[in-house]
Amino acid sequence: MKLSRLLTGSLVALALATSGSVAADKTKVGFVYVGPVGDGGWTYEHDQGRKAVEAEFGDKVETVYVESVPEGPDAERVMTQMALEGADLIFTTSFGYMDQTINVAKKFPKVKFEHATGYKTAANVSVYSARFYEGRAVQGHIAGKMTKSNIVGYIASFPIPEVVRGINSAYLHASRVNPEVDFRVVWVYTWFDPAKEADAAKVLIEQGADVILQHTDSTAPLATAATAGNVIGFGQASDMAEYKDGPRVSSIIDAWAPYYVARTRAVMDGTWKTKNTWDGIKEGMVEIGEITNKVPADLKSEALALEASMASGAYHPFTGPINKQDGSVWLKDGEVADDGTLAGMNFYIEGLKGEVPQ
């Protein structure tokens, strides 16, 4: 008994020593992905960020990733494994990894963690996200003007603040240019399931939607829109440029690369500190993909002007007057939403039908 304990103890020490020595010459960066790197959307863009880190630091850095990790206890196992293998910095790239990231971070105080789109921080856990709702404002504006049936379909993933914010922002800007517009929201409860996303798109199109907005990770809704004909959609999380000659009229691109490079450098320099980053169009974390010629020229210039006004900081998408769904006042005229309310947004604004699943 004692001997075996001694043996395991020394083995662990040996393992730690070896991994320590590897870490000394190379910084190891781990990435936990919710979908496959070939999803063409969310995970694809995170992987582009990982490749940018490799390109920037070359031999000085080693990156590892695990794809299609389910949100839940399994994620904890994957993160623990990465930390045990000597990762110095781990990016966990989905909202549903939040508690798992915090749990694993407690066990490995020397490893730095970066959790995307969450709100729980710790001494060695930073959170980062992009102000996707700024992109949604541009999308909503285009959608409101482009729809002929006045029905816009919205494929939503999970009822979390990030998704609800997107729906509100898109609806707000669509209804400003087209008061008749009606949003039909479908919750699919998955980030990545092409068949289900395609089914949802098909259902919305059958119910008369001629604009499809999506907050899921694959290109399946665009493929369905292409089959249906006179329907437009937008690239989500990535440019999805392969549908440019089809339904895709613009896109929201998540540009993670600069952030990943900066944070990896901070770990190398020893200057890494816990941060709460929430950047938008201004900082370049959110980009609007090329607006195609399917959009009339005057509408395109309106959309670009809207983008420019957010880039300069002159305009905030959630500027009052805005009422909540029940008609009560949320923001008074000229009032701008504060980040705290936005980060925890779990209500619809006035005009949207249905309710946010709780």
Binding site: G38, D39, L204, S218, T219, T224, T227
Partner: protein, 306 residues
């Protein structure tokens, strides 16, 4: 809430499309399990079928060739399972699981250069007059050929198992392989044929997702459909007729709940989302109250020397 914007005709037409992949995969697995083999690699064979079919359809421009390639692709992967379980007598559960993992990886590799490409359209048949019928036209006479093929396969499997000598031998092998062997039936040969058939069906089901239902190639795009097909076989108590009920019920409620959400029905979305699973399980459990059990030799390895 305006229920009138749900068109029942379009709903039924699209539920048939949504149900076809799991129907195909499940009927193939049914034959495999009736022969006494448990192949948990359905998901892997589906995804390999999805990419094989997609790749060949894109390269040749012919969806028909694509579906053929998908069936071959699924069968080739199942041949690996045959080597492991029928010749090396490896554990069937472990071999099946590894087949799924291998299939997911291999398909991602094969599909590297096919991301973002549009496949040639699989055209729906156009029967003059019949396809234009008001209600029956869209439901019965305006689908693609593979959908009809899937129904034909189920009918064929049902009739073969119930009425033919081949079906009887297959069931005998599945119920008690020692007895079947003693009677002089080639247990291994029967099982190999069944596994290949199951692989081909799963491959077809996968290609139906990548060529008709979505249509595009994305890594991991079957997203668990193979597991649902496996569960369906058990809940349908190994009967072909009930597989149709189960698959169409599952596909139907999946599409219906999306429709209900889109019109804003005041049922909490959480219940709607879980409804396909719960209702399908409930209905099939009630149907299978006659206690028809699993094939007797299910999951057991066979070697003539024992």
């Amino acid at each position: 809430m305006d229920l009138s914007s749900i068109s029942p005709v379009l709903l039924i037409a699209s539920l048939m499309v949504a149900a076809t992949p799991i129907l195909l995969a499940a009927v193939g697995e049914l034959v495999v399990e009736r022969a006494g083999v448990l192949n948990l690699g359905v998901e892997g064979m589906m995804i390999v079928g999805a990419i094989s079919g997609f790749a060949v359809a894109v390269e040749s421009g012919s969806p028909a060739l694509g579906f053929l390639a998908a069936a071959i692709g699924g069968a080739v992967l199942s041949a690996l399972f045959i080597v492991l379980t029928q010749f090396a007598l490896a554990n069937q559960v472990a071999s099946g699981l590894s087949l799924t993992l291998f299939g997911l990886g291999a398909s991602a590799l094969m599909g590297q250069s096919y991301i973002g490409i549009k496949p040639p359209p699989t055209t729906a048949i156009e029967i003059p007059f019949l396809s234009d019928l008001p209600v029956l036209g869209p439901i019965l006479f305006s689908h693609d050929l593979v959908l009809y093929l899937s129904l034909a396969i189920v009918a064929g499997v049902w009739a073969t198992l119930k009425y033919t000598r081949v079906g009887l031998v297959l069931r005998a092998v599945g119920e008690n392989h020692d007895a079947a062997h003693a009677l002089g039936y080639k247990v291994m040969r029967v099982r190999i044929c069944a596994i290949l058939f199951g692989g081909a069906c799963a491959g077809l089901g996968g290609a139906y997702i990548s060529l008709v239902r979505v249509p595009q190639w994305t890594e991991g795009m079957t997203a668990g459909a193979g597991w649902i097909a496996l569960a369906l076989v058990v809940f349908a108590s190994w009967k072909a007729g009930r597989i149709i009920v189960g698959a169409y019920l599952f596909g139907g409620i999946t599409v219906l709940q999306l429709n209900l959400q889109a019109v804003g029905v005041a049922i909490p979305v959480e219940y709607l989302t879980m409804s396909p699973y719960i209702i399908t399980i409930l209905v099939l459990v009630i149907l299978s109250s006659d206690k028809s059990g699993a094939p007797g030799s299910l999951g057991r390895s066979f070697h003539a020397s024992r």
